[in-house]
Symmetry: C2
Subunit: 230 residues, 2 copies
DNA sequence: AAATTGGATTAGTCATGGCTAACATCTGAA
DNA sequence: TTCAGATGTTAGCCATGACTAATCCAATTT
C-alpha cells in the first residue's frame, strides 16, 4: 500500500524521527508525540492517520503507534542527519552538548545529503552523536542501543556510560558536571529500596544521587569486574 | 504601516533575498523574480503585493519593484547567511564554487543565527563569499560593490577581478578554468566593435574571449597602470 | 488614433498542516 | 457493572503559498 517514496515534507520527517526516538521505550501514544512536537493531539492524530495511509506507521485507531519497516528506513535518514549535525556542532563549532539537540533539529531538514556526507567525512566518520547514540550509516544500518539503564543496576555493580537521553538541556548540563558522559566508568554505591534513588560514583567526582527518572535517562553496559586495568 | 517584525516565512525570505540580488541591475520586474524563484508570475505578483502591504517592498501595480529600507535590512540578514554558508562550503567542505550557491540556498533558511555566527568566527570573519560579493555584518552594513564590469573596459586597460555573478554553474566553472576569479589581474587585448566581444588575458592563462553577457558577469576595479610591481 | 501583443494582475482553486470544539473510546474505581 | 475522567478522533475552520484561467495595462506597431 505504501509504495510512494515521494520526498517527505518537513512535517512528515519530524513525526517519523520523533516516532523513532520515542519507540525505544515501547509503542508510542498519540499524546506523547503531540507533546514532543508541540502540536495539539488533534493535529498529531491527523498526521498519524496520514502516515499510516502512506504505509510508514502502524496505527489502527485508539491504539499505540509504531513505525513500519519503510517508516523506520525513512526515519533513520533523518536521525542520521540529526546526529551528524550534533557532532559537528559540538566538535567543530564548540557548542555545548545540552544545546545541540534543539539546533540540529532546526537544521536537519534543510541540509542536503551531500553536505551531511561531507561533514561526516570532515569529522572522520564518528560512530555516535555527542550523547552517545549511534549514527546510522547511509544505508540505514545502526548499531544496537543498550537496554540497560542505571536504574537497572544493583549496589556494588560497575558499568560504563554508553548514552544519555538528549531531550532535557538542564539535565544534560547536570550530567556533564557530574562526569556522567559516554565512556565514563561508574560504580553504584547505594540503591534506596523505598524510592528507587540510586547513588553512583564516577572517578574524580564525588557521589551523585539520581532520581529514578534521571537514572533511566542514562544507558550503560555492565563492566565485568575482572582484574587488569585498561 | 510596515511595523510588523513578525518573523519572516521561508518564502518571504526567498523573495527578499532574490530581490536584493536582482536589484543591483536596477528595479526588478515581476516576471524576472518569478523566473528566478521558479514560480509563476501570478504567484510572484501575489507575494509582492503581500510584501508591499508589509512595508518591505515598494510596488505600485504594473510597475517595477524595489526594496524599502526595512525590506533591505531583512534581505541583508538572509544574504549574510547565504554568503557565510557559501564560504563554509568551499573553504571547509571543499565544494566547488559553482555548486555552493544552490546548496547555500537550501540551507540559508534553516541555520540558526548563532550557528551562522559560529561558522563565520571559525572561518576567521571572511570579507566576501567565494564569488567575491561582500558579506554584510550582523548590523546589516555591506561594502559597496563595484559598478564596472569587463564590458565597460577599453582595449589596453588593466583591471582586477572583484566579483562574479554566481547564478550559472557552468559559467562559473568556465571562469575558474580561465583564471577569472576574484583577485586576478587582467588585461583587455581586444574589444570587437561589431558584437562587443571582449578578449582578456590573465597572467599564465591564454587569451579568453567573452561574449557581452559574460563580460557583464565579471565586475572589476580598474588598475592604475603606474609602475612598480606588487 | 486604433490595434496588437506581452507582461502583470485578479479570481478562484488546491494541498499542507496547523487549530478549536465536539464526540468517541478506553480505563479504573466505586 | 457502571460511570467519570483522561485520552483519541472527527469535523470544520484558517493561513500560507502555490497553480490555472481570465482579464487588464501599456507599449509598440499599423
Amino acid at each position: 500500500m505504501g509504495s510512494s517514496p515521494h520526498q517527505l515534507s518537513r512535517a512528515e520527517e519530524d513525526y517519523l524521527s520523533d516516532l523513532y526516538r520515542l519507540a525505544a521505550d515501547g509503542p508510542v501514544r498519540t499524546g506523547e508525540i503531540a507533546q514532543r512536537l508541540g502540536v495539539t493531539p488533534a493535529s498529531a492524530s491527523g498526521m498519524l492517520k496520514h502516515l499510516s495511509h502512506e504505509g510508514l506507521v502502524e496505527h489502527r485507531g485508539y491504539g499505540a503507534t509504531s513505525l513500519t519497516p519503510d517508516g523506520e528506513r525513512a526515519a533513520l535518514q533523518v536521525v542520521r542527519r540529526h546526529r551528524v549535525i550534533e557532532r559537528f556542532l559540538t566538535d567543530t563549532l564548540q557548542f555545548g552538548w545540552e544545546q545541540v539537540d534543539v539546533l540540529a533539529h532546526q537544521m536537519e531538514h534543510a541540509l542536503p545529503d551531500v553536505v551531511v556526507d561531507a561533514i561526516e567525512c570532515l569529522l572522520g566518520d564518528p560512530a555516535t552523536c555527542p550523547h552517545g547514540h549511534p549514527i546510522p550509516d547511509r544505508d540505514g544500518h545502526v548499531a544496537a542501543e543498550p537496554a540497560l539503564t542505571v536504574a537497572g543496576l544493583l549496589p556494588g555493580e560497575r558499568a560504563r556510560v554508553e548514552e544519555v537521553d538528549e531531550f532535557d538541556p538542564s539535565l544534560l548540563a547536570y550530567l556533564r558536571s557530574r562526569g556522567l558522559v559516554p565512556g565514563a566508568l561508574l560504580l553504584v554505591t547505594q540503591v534506596n529500596p523505598i524510592d528507587a534513588t540510586v547513588v553512583v560514583e564516577v572517578p574524580n567526582v564525588g557521589p551523585t544521587a539520581l532520581a529514578p527518572a534521571t537514572a533511566r535517562a542514562v544507558r550503560v553496559a555492565r563492566e565485568i569486574p575482572q582484574g587488569g586495568k585498561t
